[in-house]
Symmetry: C2
Subunit: 491 residues, 2 copies
């Protein structure tokens, strides 16, 4: 088949790129670093969006929309934020094109220069807190629990489809609270929402933890993250939730009167996940035959392929297939009956394997005689012949099984590839040879963290929230440590 | 009450602005011409989106996502398109900021200049057809039926919330076809979808028609539009669908092999509606007390306000109210029980009138005794006392009635304000005195159209699709005309 993928063992990175493109998820565009998300990829993103959106609303949040552009001066207001974000960004300097009177080419009109440059948002804390300033006077105006679905731009030098692109789609929650405690609770609530989504929908097990100071979001007091392990032994940060303290309230002068009539700065959080999750989804589960999608996020959960000779046979099989389609749809299962006569069954089988459709049903003349159907599951590539009676409950159960099995496989893989090391020599050997999540003691200093990163390319993924408290010594400096942290090379 | 609106009669334009801001739909942002869509306004937009999205999918379309940025050179490829769009736009020229070593201020890094400027998309035909080029080889790759939900930027000089903003949200459908006929059918299908949505959801009657050549989309062969009439007698274009012929296929060299093996350029359509619909929604129905929302798009369809003295009474009333809420929600009705003790019932009544909640239920001690409830409908401001028995079917029916009544009111208003004129003198007098939709004969020339616009500020809204064929004479030049066209001053 023309769509052969590079094998994971040969070149994992090439396999990933091949798969994203050949499974019609996304492709590079004519604009450097920007991707086109194709309909099949976007359909998965829509399911991710719908699920998360409901989770956000169930936890009391509303959606809103803030401007794409941010005045340059806003970035100067929060000192660490500008260091982290305002550097690599798209800058709008003019607002008009014109036809050059000499060359007749389209050029930027030099007369149409903006007084102040506008930055295409890399994240929206500044423009949002500048807005909240007018919305908040008293504790009665709090909390504000707002989310935004939007595109953002960060001018990355090395880009990879979904994982790191100049423009990407995401959601960013921005909340305002009357107390520190409430803001911390919100930060933790949302990292739990993300973990729930990752494990029960993406079927990707994650470790919840806080970032080391060095890896914190620019402007945050504490950054919580969920960290996942990919099949090549590299870590991937799948979502973050930031406790911002009063930093942005101070930068934008947002104060409120509390119940006692005292003025104080407002407490803030922000949290986000992006189209990067699509990369995690692909890399966590898929194999050399193509995508493996968890049924809960698969745009097509079941495909029916007819196997027939001649129009008469097709007619009988199509009737049966459409019947099964209807029965399954009554259970809320999304079904495609691929009745195209332009492609052979073998071609279709390979195509739906590539696209990760969880269940494939094949139905031929003998099946009609025997009242049976061939059921193939994508995750294990196993096939069996089953009776058509009660096919709906059978498939419903099978989809649940596949969802659990995909998660279990990823969970077992992570368990096998998470291990403790005690010395820095061992660490260096193992990160090179085996990868995975390494649990090791660290002295808590940025200095040691940077040394490890420079020497091994491994970073601290997180300090686990539920990590065992134990006395240990930093593997590099021998200084005391109370808890192991998770190291990995990461995306 | 503090939130008093300007009366429509006093200053319609000010009334609109007051209403959009005071009903918490949207506000101006710190960035010139860009708005903040607030949660209540965004909740309406989400309902618009969900409804249209389903209609697009039911007609065979899929969503995808294309880049925010378009290389400047792409705009030069379709000659009339660049005239229409590339002029007033946001231009990205640099990709990095830096700290000025002398002033320590954040400045644009002069070293980080893009080789080719990027335009923030004002519409996406060019980037999409540049992409389709790689997707289309044969008739088997057609049709492509894609829609995109996105933000776009047009550097408008005079902006108004929702009606005309520099950044706005919209959807843009871009389809590719193997034949002219199929593309024209698609163009017509989508203007019908828009008309259906406008009439049955927004409750705004519209006239379907084609634009005069002068008002066509830049790059289109034919532009279909739906035109609505606002309460001040001005027209508003609420959606457009363009038959693009082979213009963009030629500009981006997109050819396909047809069934006979012959190479031909691909046929195109594009169609879009935007957050402008929010402006139409507000202006078509609302009154001096605030918004009037059609129930099908109201984020809250029913609000329950308790009227009580003391905690004991509140307890009994709250129990009843929560019961009613549950019963209504079983019917799929969205209900808010406003149990806040920080505001008086009268304040709440005014607030929900301002926000256009279609039905308000008030329940007090006497109602508990009598097993009744007070039902107030927002559209007519009528109140009545009804039995709580079968309140669910009663409210369900009432919401349907309100939806129909709002539409009927708008329909009657338009009927009263649509009229024929025979002479240009009469036209000039009537457009000034009465406004509305004027049906008049026109000779079909751009010259006459422009003269009328310059002298009266009225434009041809559309040439109605189902207009009566009759012999007439152009009101300006006396040249022959076969059909009346619709004139109005417009937003």
């Amino acid at each position: 088949m023309a769509k052969e993928l590079t094998k994971r063992e040969e070149n994992y990175s090439q396999w990933y790129n091949d798969l994203v493109i050949k499974a019609d998820l996304a492709e590079n565009s004519a604009v450097r670093g920007c991707m086109v998300i194709k309909p099949y990829g976007y359909a998965i993103w829509e399911k991710i969006q719908a699920t998360l959106d409901k989770m956000f609303k169930d936890t009391g949040h509303s959606n809103a929309y803030f401007p794409l552009f941010i005045p340059k001066s806003f970035f100067s207001k929060e000192a660490s934020h500008v260091e982290g974000f305002a550097k690599e960004c798209a800058v709008v300097t003019h607002y008009r094109l014109m036809t050059d009177p000499v060359t007749h080419k389209i050029v930027v009109d030099p007369e149409a220069k903006l007084e102040e440059e506008l930055i295409v948002r890399p994240t929206s804390e500044t423009i949002i807190w500048n807005t909240y300033k007018n919305w908040i006077q008293s504790y009665r105006d709090l909390p504000i629990l707002i989310n935004q679905w939007a595109n953002v731009v960060r001018w990355e030098m090395r880009t990879r489809l979904f994982l790191r692109t100049a423009e990407f789609l995401w959601q960013e929650g921005h909340t305002a609270h009357a107390s520190m405690q409430e803001a911390i609770e919100e930060t933790e609530r949302m990292i739990n929402v993300y973990a729930d989504f990752a494990e029960n929908w993406l079927a990707v097990p994650v470790i919840k933890g806080v970032k080391s100071p060095n890896e914190r979001f620019a402007g945050a007091i504490e950054t919580y993250a969920i960290e996942a392990l990919m099949q090549d032994g590299k870590g991937l940060q799948a979502g973050t939730s930031h406790f911002l303290g009063q930093n942005f309230a101070k930068a934008f002068d947002v104060k409120f009167t509390d119940k006692e009539g005292k003025l104080d700065y407002v407490w803030a959080t922000s949290w986000g996940v992006s189209t990067r999750l699509m990369g995690a989804l692909v890399m966590a589960h898929s194999d050399d035959s193509g995508l493996i999608l968890p049924p809960k996020l698969a745009p097509i959960q079941v495909v029916i392929v007819p196997i027939y000779k001649g129009a008469d046979q097709f007619g009988i099989i199509a009737e049966k297939a459409n019947n099964i389609k209807k029965i399954l749809e009554l259970k809320g299962i999304s079904v495609k009956f691929d009745d195209r006569d332009t492609h052979k069954p073998g071609w279709k089988f390979a195509e739906y394997e590539l696209k990760g459709v969880p269940v494939r049903l094949a139905i031929g003349a003998r099946d009609i005689e025997n009242n049976t159907i061939e059921v193939a599951r994508r995750d294990t590539l196993q096939k069996e012949i089953v009776s058509i009676d009660k096919i709906d409950t059978y498939i419903e159960q099978l989809l649940n099984d596949i969802q659990s099995n995909i998660y279990k496989k990823a969970f077992d893989f992570r368990a096998k590839n998470t291990y403790k090391v005690e010395s820095y020599d061992e660490f260096k050997e193992m990160i090179e040879k085996r990868g995975g999540f390494i649990e090791a003691h660290w002295d808590g200093t940025t200095e040691t963290e940077i040394k490890i990163k420079e020497e091994t390319k491994a970073t601290i993924r997180c300090i686990p929230l539920n990590g065992t408290q134990e006395d240990g010594k930093c593997m590099v400096t021998g200084k005391p440590s109370k808890q192991r942290v998770i190291f990995a090379r990461a995306y």
